[in-house]
């Protein structure tokens, strides 16, 4: 049971970030590398803010805003200064590394073990009955992830959300609708990096410290989660092996969250099987490739049948 709890905790923390990557990679079709730095941005800001006495719940919102701002910068560099998408992300990622260190007060490692966090505070200690306490963290994470997912689903069904989906689907149509596609992209990047920084904040409060290296590979984790979730769990890209379980078509946001948990389960299994951390990246990339190839194969088949 504790194995599953552990995987769920890790998976749900990263799920919020994966939702962000879903926005950039799946909806906007924009390979956004800035998430590698907005994840630690959220963590750094949270550590500093909590030490300064800011309420832990409020740091979640602050982190979201800071991440959104960073996303706007990536968008601005890409849209207004006409720098290629990958490069804009790399520029922001590199610059934010220094800025993150500054936000953390010049330190690469800021512990907040003794501080109150959203997972550990007098309110929870008082109100949560003892038999529930082992599940409290998963429960809180579940609620945060659910809230993010529902808000994102709601947003994607607003007029602004329609436009966001349209810009990744068909840029020309957005222009035809007399809307500046650049602005729409900036909004999308802001949202995505907001979610990522929010995940960073949750991560920091869960682990009890900020470390400058936590952002390394965020994008890869996010991509892996998105691809695993979407390809394996949504029937749209072919017949899902699990599609019979779900009455309705699974929402992509749900699939992404499940993908994140699944990814962490794979990593956990890989570690347990005695694979070295050195090899994990290689395994991730192979896993990646297999899923991508299998899903394109399937799509091809669907097409030839049509």
């Amino acid at each position: 049971m504790t194995v599953i709890m552990g995987i769920l905790e890790e998976g749900l923390i990263y799920a919020v970030m994966a939702l962000g990557v879903y926005i950039t990679y799946k909806i906007l079709d924009f390979p956004d590398l800035s998430v590698d730095s907005t994840f630690p941005l959220g963590a750094a800001l949270t550590a500093s803010a909590i030490l300064a006495g800011v309420s832990p719940a409020l740091t979640l919102i602050l982190s979201f805003l800071a991440g959104a701002l960073a996303g706007c910068v990536t968008g601005f560099i890409h849209v207004k200064l006409k720098v290629r998408d990958l490069l804009s992300g790399i520029i922001v990622m590199t610059g934010l590394y220094s800025l993150n260190l500054r936000i953390a007060g010049g330190r690469a490692n800021v512990p907040i073990f003794t501080q109150e966090t959203i997972f550990e505070n007098p309110f929870l200690a008082e109100h949560v009955p003892a038999p529930l306490s082992p599940y409290v963290i998963v429960l809180i994470l579940f609620l945060i992830t659910l809230a993010c997912k529902v808000l994102l689903d709601l947003y994607l069904n607003t007029r602004s959300g329609y436009l966001l989906r349209a810009v990744g689907d068909n840029e020309a149509l957005v222009t035809s609708l007399a809307k500046d596609k650049g602005m729409v992209k900036i909004i999308g990047l802001a949202l995505a990096n907001g979610f990522t920084a929010l995940a960073g904040s949750v991560y920091c409060q869960h682990k009890g410290f900020f470390e400058i290296s936590v952002g390394t590979g965020t994008m890869v984790i996010g991509l892996a989660s998105v691809i695993m979730g979407i390809q394996l769990l949504t029937p749209e890209t072919g017949t899902s092996p699990f599609s019979s379980v779900f009455k309705k078509e699974l929402r992509p946001t749900t699939a992404v969250i499940a993908g994140s948990v699944l990814y962490k389960a794979c990593i956990s299994a890989a570690i347990s099987l005695g694979l070295e951390a050195n090899d994990l990246k290689l395994i991730t990339s192979i896993l990646f490739l297999i899923i991508l190839v299998v899903s394109t194969e399937r799509r091809k088949k669907v097409k030839t049948h049509a």
Binding site: G106, F113, K264, S268, S272
Partner: protein
């Protein structure tokens, strides 16, 4: 919502399967005073000193009668300096119900504590330079929770004393450090505070990545009579570059531990990491046997440092080690290992 819950349950089940193939924890976990133990050792990065720590740790346990393969199952993982993996490793240990987690180096110790305290798993750390700054212990050394261990704080004054003995006329010591490494910052402060007692001035230069090392080394070598190293990971990894440049200018470079002396540093007053690990292992044994709780033990520091010297380097530089150092040397090397 329904689908969301279903999907999560499904993935949880899949995780179960995946995790199932990992082989779960030791059957014995009925509290203190039992026959056999399972511990998880998480090491943050792979380098000589940390490996020695781990080796010493197991020796220390064995001396207390807890022997790997007999009454001890050891789960060992290395995170290769990746913070995300570090926390995943510890989560894995916790989910296998280990009796104790040993965290080697600061980030691993912090991850272990963050996870361990939620599941009441005691944590023993080693090779944490400043447990107080890492918030693993209070200012007086008392643990913040069920966590204690040993610190590998550099013997700064002894190193300065040694440099003075070898180089009676030197005035300035250069130190290169990575701006993102917390331990380096606090050690430099200590060097600066103590330097004047030995008639030295400290010149420091910060770098942010490996790529900065060559230029920083050039500029540092212009200003100093000798260089001393910290245990700064980035700088140590690029040590050959610095040694090469320093050798060309005939400037001695002092190391901070044995491995650095092996590869070409002139000398070092260093910790014996095996001893450090052994000391840590004994603390862990006390916790495992239920003699003491981790929260009841202050963290420990190895007080005595030993002299390590490289005579080949000394010969190249035209320096002879003073007799009182060589006689007390723990180990002398007569060649440079590449």
């Amino acid at each position: 919502m329904k689908n969301y819950v279903k999907a999560l349950i499904l993935t949880a089940m899949a995780s179960c399967l995946l995790a199932g193939c990992s082989g779960s924890s030791d059957s014995a976990s009925q509290g203190d005073g039992k026959e056999s133990y399972t511990i998880g050792i998480g090491q943050f990065a792979a380098h000589g000193s940390l490996d020695n720590c781990r080796e010493g740790f197991l020796l220390g346990l064995a001396e207390e009668g807890i022997v790997e393969g007999e009454n001890l199952t050891v789960l060992y993982e290395n995170s290769q300096a990746d913070g995300g993996i570090a926390s995943q490793i510890v989560t894995n240990f916790a989910s296998q119900n280990v009796d104790l987690i040993c965290g080697i180096a600061t980030p691993m110790a912090q991850s272990a504590y963050g996870i361990g305290k939620k599941q009441n798993i005691p944590v023993i750390y080693t090779a944490v330079t400043d447990p107080v700054a890492a918030e693993l212990a209070g200012a007086d050394g008392t643990p913040v929770g069920e966590i204690t261990g040993t610190s590998d704080k550099l013997p700064v004054t002894q190193q300065l004393e040694m440099i003075r003995a070898i180089l009676p006329h030197a005035k300035t010591i250069g130190i290169m450090f990575t701006t993102s490494e917390v331990n380096s910052l606090s050690t430099i402060e200590e060097y600066k505070a103590a330097a004047s007692d030995y008639g030295f001035e400290i010149v420091d230069t910060g770098i942010s990545t490996t790529a900065d090392v060559p230029l920083a080394a050039d500029s540092l070598l212009e200003k100093v009579d000798c260089i001393t190293n910290l245990t700064d990971n980035t700088v140590v990894a690029s040590l050959p570059v610095i040694l090469d440049k320093a050798a060309k200018k005939n400037i001695p470079v002092f190391g901070s531990e044995i491995e650095q002396v092996k590869i070409g540093c002139l000398a070092s007053m260093g910790l014996d990491y095996i001893d450090l690990g052994r000391q840590t292992g004994k603390m862990a044994a006390a916790v495992l046997k239920g003699e003491k709780k981790a929260s009841e033990m202050k963290f420990e520091i190895i007080e005595e440092a030993s002299f390590y010297g490289n005579t080949k380097v000394a010969e190249n530089l035209g320096i002879t080690f003073p007799e009182e150092l060589t006689s007390s040397a723990k180990e002398l090397f007569h060649e440079i290992t590449q």
